[in-house]
C-alpha cells in the first residue's frame, strides 16, 4: 500500500540555520499539507498546497517558512532561520482532491521529522 514518506527522520540544527524537511506524498494525491506537533501539545496545521500554490496557511506559517514542490514528487518545507521554538515533530500529509464514497478526503500522514533546534 502506498505511503507518505518523510526525510530525515530526525534533524538537529543550530538556531539561525536553514532547514529543509522533505516529503514524498502518495503519487496520485493532489492536496498536500504540513502539520507540526510541539512536544506535549496538539497537532497544528501549518500550510496546505494544491495546484502548485499555497491554498491555506495558519498564523504559525510566517515569512520564515516556505513550501515547494520542486520536481512533481517531492514536497518540501523550508524554515529559513530556525528558532528554538521551532523544535517539534513535523508531519506531512496528502489527500485526494476528489471525493468518492470509498476514499473520501482522508489525509494520509507521513512518519514525521523530529526537528531539534539547539
Amino acid at each position: 500500500e502506498p505511503e507518505v514518506t518523510q526525510t530525515p527522520s530526525h534533524q538537529v540544527t543550530q538556531m539561525g540555520q536553514e532547514v529543509i524537511l522533505r516529503c514524498v506524498p502518495i503519487s496520485n494525491h493532489l492536496y498536500f499539507y504540513w502539520y507540526r506537533q510541539i512536544l506535549g501539545q496538539k497537532v497544528e496545521f501549518l500550510v496546505s498546497f494544491y495546484n502548485n500554490e499555497i491554498s491555506e496557511k495558519s498564523e504559525i506559517f510566517d515569512d520564515q517558512f516556505s513550501v515547494e514542490r520542486p520536481d512533481g514528487s517531492n514536497f518540501t518545507l523550508k524554515i529559513r532561520s530556525t528558532k528554538l521554538e521551532d523544535s517539534a515533530m513535523y508531519f506531512c500529509a496528502s489527500s485526494h482532491a476528489v471525493r468518492d464514497s470509498r476514499t473520501y478526503n482522508e489525509q494520509f500522514f507521513g512518519p514525521g521529522t523530529r526537528l531539534t533546534v539547539l
Binding site: Y35, V43, E44, E56, F91, Y104, E106, P111
Partner: protein
C-alpha cells in the same frame, strides 16, 4: 473557528473493560469528524470517519449533532489498543483541526 476538545489527557482501563474516549467539536458549517490513532513509534493513521459509520478494530463512534460530540467507544479493551487517540475535524479538503489527544493505556 473550528475547535476540537478532548477533555482527557490520559485514560487507563483494564483489559476487557469498556472504553469511551470523549470528543466534542464546534464548527459553524457541516464538519467531517475523524478519529486518528498513533501507536508507539508509528505514524498517525485514520481509525474512523463519521461519514462511513463503520467499526474498525471494534471501535465505533457516533456523531451526535445535538451534543456536538463524536465519542469513540469500544466494548472490550485489548492491550494492543494502547495508543494516542486524536479526534479531528475538517470540511472537504480543508486542514484538519485536532484535539489535544488522549493516551489510552490498557492494563493487563
Amino acid at each position: 473557528a473550528q475547535r476540537v476538545t478532548q477533555p482527557e489527557k490520559l485514560l487507563s482501563v483494564f483489559k476487557g473493560a469498556p472504553v469511551e474516549l470523549k470528543c466534542n467539536y464546534s464548527y459553524s458549517g457541516s464538519p467531517e469528524l475523524f478519529w486518528y490513532v498513533q501507536y508507539s513509534r508509528q505514524r498517525l493513521q485514520l481509525l474512523l470517519r463519521h461519514i462511513s459509520r463503520e467499526s474498525i478494530k471494534g471501535f465505533t463512534a457516533d456523531l451526535n449533532k445535538g451534543e456536538t460530540s463524536f465519542h469513540l467507544k469500544k466494548p472490550f479493551a485489548q492491550e494492543e489498543d494502547s495508543a494516542m487517540y486524536y479526534c479531528a475535524s475538517n470540511s472537504g479538503n480543508t486542514p484538519l483541526v485536532f484535539g489535544k489527544g488522549t493516551r489510552l493505556s490498557v492494563i493487563a
